[in-house]
Symmetry: C2
Subunit: 340 residues, 2 copies
DNA sequence: TGTATTGTGTAAAAGGTTTTAGTAAAAGGT
DNA sequence: ACCTTTTACTAAAACCTTTTACACAATACA
């Protein structure tokens, strides 16, 4: 069945009665050839079903037309997360214009470094890791261009949002309304070796909450900060657990909408009325947040724009050696129906 | 800046005082080498920031560890579509297990064929096109494995759902409830050269509607079938247009949930009460459908499972020459709040 | 002691393309 | 009629790795 090998450039050349060089020209630099010859070559290629081998081509040109989005999570988790749906949409819109394909890369066999090394891409968009993370740093030596999203970077471009201000606004809103008994859900990372993933983002958000507590003179309680899986189920479970442990918060701050929506569901199960018995504020403003019932109050971040800027910075880096630029996008507190 | 080239295997070999072959062995077949030597080589590689060039590696091994999902739409549209979010999630779950990365490929510069030819993948999952589509067919000659989803195929594996039965059930439900004035929204493809995209799926669904009309003795009216962009906005616009043209349907059948939800929104704008003044049934049962207000009645298809099966069939094909298998998954009418 | 085996490493070929430098013929200039 | 361009095409090098076949030494076998 697989008896015949893939057809190569020399077979096309033979069939068209020219050199392999001519075949290459016919595809890439037709002006270097007589029009008739080009046509004859292309015809032969069509009949043989020939197309230049992308790997061989990339080996020489150092360009493959693919950009990688690297996220320290499973592909399953990435595609389940509405944040990434919007984020990838922003990236995709620019890829469409630039004729790039989009590769989602996640840890290979547990190793991000191996995944990075074996991905056939022109550059990476790296989400949720710092520039100097030990699995990311080798990219530097290898001179593979990359940009950092939701992480710290100095020598490469980065895109972040003003997590702290957004979190501050959310906490301040609840505190101003008299809440003193607030449960806070922050990121927990499932995979052990990724201990510092999202540390940056989660840390900044929690820090914003803390600053608001301080400003309102409300004592901060570490036992009210519960690490939670970044998912609907995670939020649901965390709230249920807290409830069973006897905690009776009047409000919940969650560092992601997914968690927050899980809390909303858990509250409904417990017979709590939102927002009367419990107020909830999420983070991200995922499209779904505006559509649920009750609609979720949350901190909006421009996720789509974030993707757009990330890929724009990467493309600029690929085309020339630009100064690394750090972009910080604003956040905004959106009050819907899970707050009074 | 880019003065230094990427570090290659020979530089590592030189630094470690061995041959390039030894370096290759250190990475791929450590048992062929003395343990100390392997360690010395790996150390040298680490210091130099070396990793084997994926393109060169793939050129020889004919394997790159990437599978491509080919959809005849822009990346922007793909990632905006909740259908694909779920579908890719199913694919991703298997890719996680198999250590594969996921490449989303869309037309390059308008040409699907060029996009296919230049994608560095081990195989394709092709959505919404038939096996013998003129831009897909060359894959055959080139012996690139692929599976077809939502399209016809004979010599390669395929995954489809029972579109006709699902559509029949939806139409029958409305007809049984006495509706005679039903507006039907079907697929319109934006890009001209993709005239037959989704023809298969759209055609099958419309055919199911028609069969129900026939069974209920209701005359079919082609002017009540309006081609609509597969999006929220598309559905909204189509319904608004029909309304302005004086059409006053009592129910709407849409071949996708996105369209159906657009109709729901348009109806609200027009002051219509759903389901009292207008009943709507979508298709797909996107996660969002259960969450909107009112929740959407629709035809459920197992999208996640569809992705899973597609990638499983592809992986099987990559590993051995298996018989092409055609899987057809069941659909189910789900009545929520947009029907009485 | 001689032979077979195992362990450790290397040279060279293969994988398929693009690019560079160059050749030969035709066209253009005076 | 001679020199310069231009046109049309080709040979060979380069891209970087892995694999195959082979070499040499050390050990095991009998």
């Amino acid at each position: 069945m697989m008896a015949t090998r893939r057809v190569t450039i020399v077979e096309v050349a033979r069939k068209a009665g020219v050199s392999p060089t001519a075949v290459s020209f016919a595809f890439n630099k037709p002006h270097r050839l007589n029009g008739d010859t080009t046509e004859r070559i292309l015809q032969a290629a069509r009949e043989l079903g020939y197309a230049p081998n992308p790997h061989a081509r990339a080996l020489l040109s150092q360009r493959i037309g693919v950009i990688g989005v690297l996220v320290p999570q499973s592909l399953y988790a990435i595609y389940a997360n509405p944040f990434f749906a919007t984020f990838l949409q922003g990236i995709g819109s620019v890829c469409d214009d630039q004729d790039l394909a989009l590769l989602t890369v996640s840890p290979l066999d547990g190793s991000l470094e191996r995944a990075i090394a074996s991905a056939p891409v022109d550059g990476f968009i790296i989400v949720g890791l710092n520039e100097h993370h030990h699995e990311v740093a080798p990219l530097h030596k290898r001179r593979v261009p990359f940009v950092i999203v939701d992480g710290d970077a100095e020598t490469v471009p980065s895109v972040n949002i003003d997590d702290e201000s957004g979190a501050y606004a959310a906490a301040a809103h609840l505190l101003a309304n008299g809440h003193r008994n607030i449960l806070i859900l922050t990121f927990e990372t499932p995979l052990e070796h990724l201990e510092d993933i999202f540390y940056g983002v989660g840390g900044r958000r929690v820090h914003g909450y803390q600053r608001a507590f301080a400003d309102y003179g409300v004592p901060w309680r570490d036992d009210r900060l519960v690490p939670t899986l970044t998912s609907f189920e995670g939020g649901e479970q965390s709230f249920l657990n807290a409830w069973e442990a006897g905690t009776r918060p009047g409000a919940v701050l969650a560092v992601s909408d997914a968690m927050a929506l899980g809390v909303v569901k858990a509250a409904a199960q417990l017979g709590l009325n939102i927002p009367r018995d419990l107020e909830v504020i999420g983070f991200d403003d995922v499209p779904l947040a505006a559509l649920t019932n009750p609609a979720l109050s949350t901190v909006h971040q421009p996720v789509y724009r974030k993707g757009e800027i990330a890929i724009e910075l990467l493309v600029a880096t690929l085309e020339a050696n630009v100064e690394p630029k750090s972009v910080v996008l604003p956040t905004e507190l959106i009050l819907r129906a899970t707050t009074r």
